[in-house]
């Protein structure tokens, strides 16, 4: 038994998906054209199990955002930070916006996805950068 903090759980499917955001990223598409994010065995919209991985559009548009002033304990990100939900065609991603202040962001602002490591948690962190 070690006193060290346990490693965060591996999340096969999610981890590979998040890592791929550094190179543009992908999403899961079913035979009926519904988008979702991995890990998936079945389309949550229609139940199709005919799933394929497709490239994300290079840029997405901010669908909504918030400047967060009170962060969870242990999260590591110094508030205020901006969390946004960004639409990329048939899927949306949630992440933290880099290199733009809250005043510079509006609904519709174009961004591209990327991934960082959250040093405090060891988890992958989805981020968006100006497109």
């Amino acid at each position: 038994m070690s006193d060290a903090e346990p490693d965060p759980p591996a999340n096969t499917g999610y981890d590979e998906w998040a890592d791929a955001l550094a190179d543009g990223g992908y999403f899961v598409e079913c035979a009926n054209g519904h988008g979702s994010l991995p890990p998936r065995r079945v389309c949550p919209e229609c139940g199709s199990t005919d799933l394929s991985e497709e490239s994300l559009p290079e840029t997405g548009e901010v669908a909504t955002f918030s400047e967060v002033h009170v962060a969870p304990s242990g999260f590591g990100e110094e508030p205020p930070y901006v969390t946004a939900v960004v639409g990329f065609g048939s899927v949306r991603l949630t992440g933290i916006v880099r290199d733009l202040s809250a005043e510079e962001i509006e609904i519709g602002t174009p961004v591209r996805p990327d991934v960082e490591r959250n040093d405090a948690t060891g988890n992958r962190l989805v981020v968006f950068r100006p497109a």
Binding site: S66, V68, H69, S73, T83, V85, V91, T94, V126
Partner: protein, 388 residues
């Protein structure tokens, strides 16, 4: 199918109960409910108990046996967990158990102990209700999630922070004479607007407080109430539950809460009442914007009309449809696992005529309660009616 009556209600004061255990809080509410009902604890056939974060706040899982013991019951219990809708689900399942004929006497409610944690720890604990992979890791907090919805709503329908400030001021005004409320004081619209930002566009006074508290209801079959000559004039005539994708990003429209609309449609159909017959409502205003979206999901206001309801006076105590006469989660407080039971306790008191704010709705016969989990990925709606 037998009818279900609310035979008794019990609440602890909502607020900070420093040094008290969760089991003591629930025992207080449970004994008050049994006393209000005039039913002995050994008559209760099952406990349906709601709790969300007890494993984090008190390091106590497996709470149902702890709570049956604390309440002096002689039966088994089950813990229900659907985030902030935990007690709503517990009540709904109790209603179904009585209707099925399986049970005649159920105790249902919930408890949450929260103020022993720091604000950052509560923020972390509540965030567990969001999608861990796709939201929590991206820094989405509970206020942050509702802020994302608020901005989407403003963009789609209009409205502004001042509209929301009127919701906060209204609910604080309603809480002033509620002896169970955490904040029995008024605030002004200006104070709400000037409070510090939590997650833009939401500020501190858009948010419910961090609260300790417990709620309990004694639910009985109509036959049991009659045989035992119980004073149980209020019936639960409709129950409905809806679900949605856990993460906001996966919702078709982030400015709406279809899980609540589904729950309401089921509950209205179950009770055989229309939304136009509702006289008074208790809705899940964990944030001011949540009340707005609830009013629209419950078909009490058209899309885009809910945001101005408090400002216009439609939902104030002297309006056509008073909403959150208890003070709501905003001012009465929000011990998350207890809230769904508390709403039904308050509505029962309002309809019986023994609530301090019953004088605002002297002729009310139909009441609606709306309890939501997370960002309304779970929703439970109940219709209560004066039966005699």
């Amino acid at each position: 199918m037998t009818g279900v009556r609310v035979a008794g209600v019990g609440l602890t004061p909502f607020g900070e109960h420093a040094g008290r255990t969760g089991r003591d809080l629930f025992a207080e509410a449970a004994l008050a409910a049994l006393d209000d009902a005039g039913v002995a604890g050994d008559e209760v056939e099952h406990l349906n108990y709601g709790n969300f974060m007890g494993a984090l706040a008190e390091r106590q899982g497996h709470q149902a046996p702890i709570m049956t013991e604390a309440a002096g019951l002689r039966c088994a219990g089950t813990r229900y967990e659907e985030a902030c809708a935990s007690a709503g689900v517990a009540v709904r399942e109790a209603v179904r158990a009585v209707r099925s004929g399986e049970n005649d006497v159920m105790l249902a409610g919930g408890m949450e102990r929260m103020t022993n944690l720091s604000t950052a720890e509560v923020t972390e604990s509540l965030a567990v209700a969001a999608d861990e992979l796709f939201e929590v890791r991206a820094g989405v907090t509970f206020p942050g999630a509702y802020a994302l919805m608020a901005r989407a709503y403003f963009d789609e329908y209009g409205g502004d922070r001042e509209d929301l400030a009127h919701v906060a001021a209204k609910n604080h005004a309603n809480a002033v004479n509620n002896e169970y409320a955490q904040y029995q004081r008024e605030i002004t619209v200006e104070q709400a607007l000037d409070s510090p930002p939590v997650a833009s566009p939401l500020h501190l006074f858009d948010a419910c407080p961090i609260t300790d508290g417990a709620s309990a209801l004694v639910l009985v079959s109509e036959e049991y109430a009659e045989e035992h000559d119980l004073d149980a004039s209020v019936a639960i005539t409709g129950t409905g539950q809806g679900g949605d994708r856990a993460a906001l990003q996966d919702r078709t429209d982030m400015a709406r809460t279809p899980a609540a609309a589904d729950a309401a449609a089921e509950a209205y159909g179950d009770a055989g009442v229309g939304s136009d017959q509702v006289d008074v409502a208790e809705v899940h205003d964990c944030f001011t914007i949540a009340e707005v979206m609830a009013l629209e999901a419950l078909d009490l206001f058209d899309p885009g009309e809910g945001v101005g309801a408090a400002r216009r006076g439609d939902t104030t105590r002297d309006g056509d449809l008073p909403v959150n006469l208890s003070g709501g989660l905003k001012a009465k407080g929000h011990p998350v696992g207890a809230t769904g039971g508390s709403q039904i306790a308050e509505m029962t008191r309002l309809l019986r005529g023994d609530h301090p704010n019953s004088d605002a709705v002297p002729d009310a016969t139909v009441g609606l309660t709306h309890n939501a989990g997370g960002t309304v990925a779970s929703a439970v709606v109940h219709v209560l009616e004066v039966a005699e």
